[in-house]
Amino acid sequence: MSTAFDVQLFGPYADAVGESVVRITLPKGTDPTASELMKVIEQEQPQLRPMMKETRLAVNREFAGPDQMVRSDDDLALIGLVAGG
């Protein structure tokens, strides 16, 4: 059994992956922290590696600290290198 975490991508992140969502699947019962989930994303999506240093995970539309626990039903998005205005 496994648990899926859907992470939304925008802008250069979506361009790099070619998708607007990446699905990360972890063994059921795994409750990753934000930094753990981002490490898995980086491993599974190596094309994002050059950008990950500047990247934060948004959990339910707020920037998460590295130790914040993430649940599969959270609203997740990778945010970084924004340049509006």
């Binding site: 802008g11 948004a58 539309r61 998005a77 945010i79 924004v82 340049a83 509006g84 205005g85």
Partner: protein
């Protein structure tokens, strides 16, 4: 209302009146689409916003600016979608008692927005026509 935030589709309309009782300074900034990016001609910029986080973050920043600089009023308008060159994609209007805090708030808001508000831009480059043989 002292804080107003709007994300609008396409280029922004011309500015409307921005009055404020008791203000000694009204400062407005407009971001206009330049005709080139990275030394290449463009025809437009496409803005993509992660909503509603973008709305919430703009509101949060505006509230912070009000408190931090003691502003009297702030209005933020940002485009999403396609904005052609020479059109306005971002407008920040600030009313303050004196110019110093208004000017400082303007720089702080724009710098922080570019770091923390999830709005991305993609340049749409002019397609170069192949030259005839």
């Amino acid at each position: 209302m002292t804080v107003e935030i709007r994300i609008e589709s396409g280029p922004l309309d011309a500015a409307t009146s921005f009055a404020c009782d008791g203000a000694g300074a009204i400062i407005a900034f407009e971001g206009i689409i330049r005709p080139d990016e990275q030394d290449r001609p463009i025809e437009a910029i496409e803005y993509e916003a992660y909503r509603p986080m973008a709305d919430e973050k703009l509101h949060e920043l505006a509230e912070q600016a009000m408190q931090r600089y003691g502003l009297k009023r702030i209005r933020v308008t940002h485009s999403e979608g396609r904005v052609p060159i020479d059109a306005c994609s971002f407008r920040l209007e600030i009313a303050s008692a004196h110019r110093a805090e208004g000017l400082e708030a303007m720089g702080w808001f724009i710098d922080t927005m570019k770091r923390d508000v999830p709005i991305w831009k993609r340049p749409r480059f002019v397609q170069q026509k192949e030259s005839a043989p």
